[in-house]
Symmetry: C3
Subunit: 264 residues, 3 copies
Amino acid sequence: MTASLIALVSDFGRNDWYVGVMKGVVLTLNPAARIVDLTHSVPAHDAPACSFALLATRTYLPAGAVVAAVVDPGVGGSRRVLAARSAGRFFLAPDNGVLTEVLEADGCERMVSVENRDLFLKEVSRTFHGRDIFAPVAARLSLGMDIGRLGPETADYMKLELPAALRGPGSLAVTVRWVDSFGNLITGVTGEMLAGAIAEWGAAVVDVGTAAGIPIVESYQSVAAGDALALLGSSDRLEISVREGSAAARLGADVGSVVVLRKT
Amino acid sequence: MTASLIALVSDFGRNDWYVGVMKGVVLTLNPAARIVDLTHSVPAHDAPACSFALLATRTYLPAGAVVAAVVDPGVGGSRRVLAARSAGRFFLAPDNGVLTEVLEADGCERMVSVENRDLFLKEVSRTFHGRDIFAPVAARLSLGMDIGRLGPETADYMKLELPAALRGPGSLAVTVRWVDSFGNLITGVTGEMLAGAIAEWGAAVVDVGTAAGIPIVESYQSVAAGDALALLGSSDRLEISVREGSAAARLGADVGSVVVLRKT
Amino acid sequence: MTASLIALVSDFGRNDWYVGVMKGVVLTLNPAARIVDLTHSVPAHDAPACSFALLATRTYLPAGAVVAAVVDPGVGGSRRVLAARSAGRFFLAPDNGVLTEVLEADGCERMVSVENRDLFLKEVSRTFHGRDIFAPVAARLSLGMDIGRLGPETADYMKLELPAALRGPGSLAVTVRWVDSFGNLITGVTGEMLAGAIAEWGAAVVDVGTAAGIPIVESYQSVAAGDALALLGSSDRLEISVREGSAAARLGADVGSVVVLRKT
C-alpha cells in the first residue's frame, strides 16, 4: 500500500528552514512519505486566508490525503490542535478557524482534539508546533494510523465570521479573498452564485477599486491586452484580472477590497 | 519499472497554490510520481525566457523525463497544446514558441497536438490548463503512455524569432537572456561560439551596460572582489558577473541588454 | 533498503533553475532519491550563516542523511570539497568554514577531501560545483557508497572565527545569527547558556536595537500584540520577537546586530 499524500499549507514563507525541518521529521517517521507544498505564502497569522487556501485546493488532492495547515498565531498558548476527516481527507490544524470553509463545504465526518503526546516529538517547543506536533502526527496518519488515537472526539471548533456577501436589489457586494502572484483578485463568489445572479438579472458587470463596469467574459482573449476583465477562475470563483497585467496594481485593490457584482 | 521523472517550468511563482495543485493532480493519477521544480520564476508570459530555461536545463534530466512548460498567456484561447519527443525526453507546452530552442538544438523525434479530452481533468477551466491538461497528461506520460494517444501528429509549431547575434568585423553583439538571483547576466553565446571568436581574433573582451573591456577569465578568482568578469558559465553560455556582487545592479543591465564581445 | 535522505542548503534562492538541475542530476543517478530543501536563502556567499543553518537543522534529519551545503564563493578556485561524517549524518561542503559549528557540536567521525573525479559529472564547470560535484556525490552516498571512495582522509579543515559571546559581570553580549521571514531575531545563545545565566543572576532582560529591557517569557501570549519579547525559540536559541509583528523591522535589527542579555 502506498502511504497517503501529505500536503502542507503555512505562513512560513520559503526562506527559512521551517518547512525543511518539518519534512525532515516526516521522513524520519515515514521514509516513503510523499509531500506536496500547497502554499507557504499565506499572509502571516491570517486565518481567513488560510481557510480560503484550503477551500480552493482540497479537491485536487487524492483520497486519504493528510493536509497540515500551520497558520498559528496562538502557538504556545492554550488553543487546541484539531484533526478532522472531511470528504475522505484528513486536516490537521490549530483550532483558530482555518478549517471553517472546508468543513462548511464538505462536512465533517469525524473530529478529534490532538492530545496524545506519545505521538509528538519528545520535546515540544513553545513556538514551532508545525515541527513538533503537526509533522509527526501527519507522518503517522499517512501511514494509516487511526485518527482516534490522536485524542478525544470533539464536535465544536472555532468558526471564523467571514465577510458575508451583501445582497441588494440587482447587486451583490463581496470582498477579495486572495491576490495571486499575477495580481489576479480572487473573490468568494462561486460559479453557482454567479450563474444565479446572471440568470436573475440577465447580464452583470463588476466594480472594484478604481474600475467600474468590468465585463464578465469567458477567457482573457475577450479583451485587449492591458484591459480589465472578470471571469470564473480556476478555483471556481469570480476573479478580476487585467490581461497580461496585474489587476491588483492597476485597480489599486488588495485582499479585503470590496467587489460589487451588479445588474446592467 | 520506475516511472519517469516529471519536471515543471512555469511563470507561476512560488506564492500561490498553483504549482501545489498541479502536483496534487499528478500524484492522484500516478502516486509514485517524482516531480522536480526546474523554475517557476520565468517572467510572467515571457515565452523567450521560458525557451531559454528549457534549453539551459534539459541535459540534466534523465532519459524519458517529462517536462511540462506552462508559460501560457494565450490560455483559454485557440492556441494548441503540443507534446514533443526530443532527445528521448518529452516536452508538454503551449504552441507559443517556448519549444523553439530545445527543438532547434536537439531536433524533434515526434510531435502531436494534445487534444484527447479523455486524458484531461473532467472539467477544463479557461484559465488553468497547467492543472487541467498539463498535469494529468504529464502523469500519464510518466507512467509510459504512448505520446500518440494524446492527439494527431503535427509537424509545424510556432517558432520564436529570437534576437540573432549581430556579427561585425571583430565584434559580436548579442543580448542578455536570463539574469539569475546572484545578478549574473547570462547571454546566448555558447562555448563553441566563444571558442570560435577567440580562435579567430586571438583575444577578446566584453562590453555591457556601464562597463567596457570586461576581461574573459577562467574563474571568479581571476579578478578582485567587486570587479566585473566574463566567463563561460555553467549553462555553457557566456556570463557576465561581478565577483561577490551583482553584475545586473553594478552594470545597470537586465534581460535584453546588449552585450558586445569584441577583439582586442 | 530505502536510500538515505538528501538535504540541500544553499544561497541559490528559488528563482533560478540551479536547485532544479541539481535534483535532475541526483535523480538521474538515484531514481529513488528523496530530496528535502532545508533552505536556499542563505545570504549570498555567507559562510557563517550557512554554518548556523546547518547547526539549527541537523537534528531533525534521519540517520544516514546526506546534507549538501553549497555556499561557495570560492568555487572554481583552489578550495577543496569536504565530506564529513558527523553523528551518523554525511555533510558535503566546500572547505570554507560552513561545517564549523556542526563539527564543533557533534564531532567528526571521519572526513575526506572529495577528489575522485570518476564520481563527478564528466564535465566539471568552473562555477557550478553544486551540480557537477555535490549532486552526483550526494546521489552516490545516498545509495550507500563508502565515503572513503571520495578521496583521501583529512583531519584539518577551515574553521570560522565566529563572533564570540562577550561576558561581563551580569551581562552577556552576542549577535543576531539569523533573521527569519517573520522578522524574529535568532541569536547564538543556547538554552543551556540562558539557563546558566538565569541561575546565576536570578532574572534577566534583553536589549537589542532600539529596545531595552525586553522580557524573557515562555510564549508569545505573555505579551500584548505588538510588544517585544525574548524566548527560547524552536532552534533551542534565544530569539527576540514582536508578537504578531516583525522584531527586525520594529527594533531596527539585522544579522550581526548586538544583543545584550543582562541581569535585572
